[in-house]
Symmetry: C2
Subunit: 352 residues, 2 copies
DNA sequence: TTGAAAGCGCTAACAG
DNA sequence: CTGTTAGCGCTTTCAA
């Protein structure tokens, strides 16, 4: 099925690299060089470059000319050390495989960029011990703030965070106590709303297909909320299938297949997220199961792909990009500790 | 169709934040504090902490005890300034919307982490002027290296890069001269291989559905390669549709619809990537067009979603994660300028 | 409006 | 094996 193409090869660049690796590494241009070139003091250059304090227009011109002539690039490492805080914001996310987290990053980086901050990212693979490690590592850069995902952390992580004194924003969950800034939505409420919706549409034999809930705490909260929602209607799950792996289209597809093999009379399937649900949808298409006639499908996240399926996916849309942006804005500010619940939106779609 | 839920609300955290914003900001613990506490010199502490140079086991124990007692976190800003280079690697990508770039990041961050480096990311939105700006900004952190996407840059960007003397890796393209390290695959060859494959399967009325080629230079190279491939077989495109926007499932769906409305007798559609092709597939499903009987589909990237569709998508699989990892490894090293062509793989799938 | 000088917290010689 | 002493490049008083 696969055909090797575009053969692998390693070779030296034919042309001389534009970045000569010259042995005689020339000393980088410093602010002192600029001062000398512009015939002014170092502090004057510093003021001009940061448009801070006062200086004459003539001086400004001289400095700018010198900067251009020398190709000076300020050294923010030195600047940060000399001044109080850095313009770095650490961002800790569990994964880059699920588009949800790039979406967060997208919102955060756009806002940070606008405010003159630089994001430094770290990935935990849904592992709280790794989170502790990367938080430590990020903290050593003395960031102005840290954005982390979720409300559950190791005690050690919390201790370090508290001791560091930096602002912390926790993202994507509001179901529990936060450390400082909390931006997200209630996963529990989302799960419950999903259950109410399915029940309201008349489904009674509802199954759950999910991924590794031990690691993904927010998915676990949705699951709990969903069961509560069913319970409130006097129902219970007709069956469930959990994949001991991160969520994926594949896990959704094989998960639904496995569940249907065991519980044949399901009339609806609730998935831990849209990726999983898409996998389920593909299974239905492949097997010719009518959706929602034979089986209704419900997801979580409101991804583009769900909106564009031949039948739009029933799901819960979450404002992820906005959450990232909001967290970035607040973490750079100096407001009080806050919880911002951005809410969510139930998308009826056509699969349920 | 939409139902508002999980109402938005802003409120103060009920519990006292674990990170007290105490007005009397306590002075952070420094290496000097540790030295005093451990009753040794500062340089001794430094040596122990970096396991560099020599010291007695007894000293090591004292230092470690002091570090633990004081909760000391090293300040890498200061460390970097005092030593030669930083352990920061800048990564510049055009977008976070297409999963391809998070994939790159995934490969790169994993490798960087293992080598003790920290990634700092910036997003250009496929804008070369913005690339110049963010490269400048990244350079001011004096990174050990920079990973950028593609081979096309503003002259100003190239100048700054060259002047900085940092290692630079260019990713995802090998069709053209590079600055230093180049890691990727030939987009042109991929386009040509796609054309040969479709022609080989007997398709003759082939259309192209693409996105903004002015900004996405690699997609433009695939397009050029594809046309060359057709030309070599004595064929030409039977029609094409270009969306003046970034690639998306939606653009693929509407693009194919528009093209079929104009050119009714197409027998195959070549898409600028898998997202676009997925949109096309959804269009076919929605309209009941048999794939590949009525219309064959071909994409680019080899995303999971294509593999898991009821009919696996015909596409070209690219080693993106590996490319990110390779670039990270090389950019942290001190080897010669290199081009690494990782090649690609044609996936026959079932849609062509 | 400007410059001199004193650090920021750490690393890297260099003595001892 | 360990401490002392210079800086790294910049910002920030504080005088001038």
């Amino acid at each position: 099925m696969d055909e090797a193409e575009g053969g692998r090869r390693d070779y030296r660049a034919e042309a001389e690299p534009l970045t000569p690796r010259d042995g005689a590494a020339r000393r980088p241009v410093t602010l002192a060089d600029v001062a000398r070139e512009a015939r002014v003091g170092e502090s004057t250059v510093s003021r001009v470059l940061r448009s801070h304090g006062s200086y004459s227009q003539k001086t400004r011109a001289q400095v700018e000319a010198a900067v251009a002539r020398l190709g000076y690039v300020p050294n923010r490492i030195a600047g940060t050390l000399a001044s109080t805080g850095s313009r770095l914001i650490g961002i800790v996310i569990p994964s880059l495989t699920n588009i949800v987290f790039p979406d967060l990053l997208r919102g955060a980086t756009a806002t940070l960029e606008a405010e003159g901050f630089q994001p430094v990212i770290a990935v935990t693979d849904y592992d709280q011990d790794r989170e502790e490690t990367v938080v430590d590592s990020l903290l050593s850069w003395r960031p102005a703030g840290l954005i982390v995902t979720g409300l559950e952390h190791n005690p050690g992580t919390v201790r370090r965070l508290a001791a560091s004194g930096v602002r912390v924003a926790e993202l994507l969950d509001v179901d529990g106590p936060g450390l400082d800034i909390v931006v997200g939505y209630s996963n529990r409420a989302a799960g419950a709303a999903s259950a109410r919706h399915l029940v309201g549409r008349g489904y009674r034999r509802i199954g759950y297909i999910g991924h590794d809930l031990g690691r993904d705490r927010r998915a676990a909260k949705r699951y709990a909320g969903f069961r509560e929602g069913l319970g409130a209607a006097g129902l219970a799950l007709a069956g469930e299938e959990r994949i001991a792996a991160p969520s994926s289209i594949e896990a959704g597809r094989t998960g639904l297949a496995a569940l249907l093999a065991r519980v044949r009379d399901l009339d609806a399937a609730y998935f831990s997220n849209d990726d999983m649900a898409l996998g389920g949808y593909f299974h239905c298409l492949a097997r010719g199961l009518a959706v929602p006639g034979r089986l209704a499908l419900f997801g979580y996240n409101g991804l583009d792909v769900g909106r564009l399926m031949p039948q739009p996916l029933a799901t819960i849309r979450t404002p992820r990009v906005e959450a990232g942006a909001t967290a970035a804005r607040l973490v750079c500010g100096s407001g009080p500790a806050t919880v911002v619940d951005l809410g969510f939106e139930l998308v009826e779609g056509a699969t349920a």
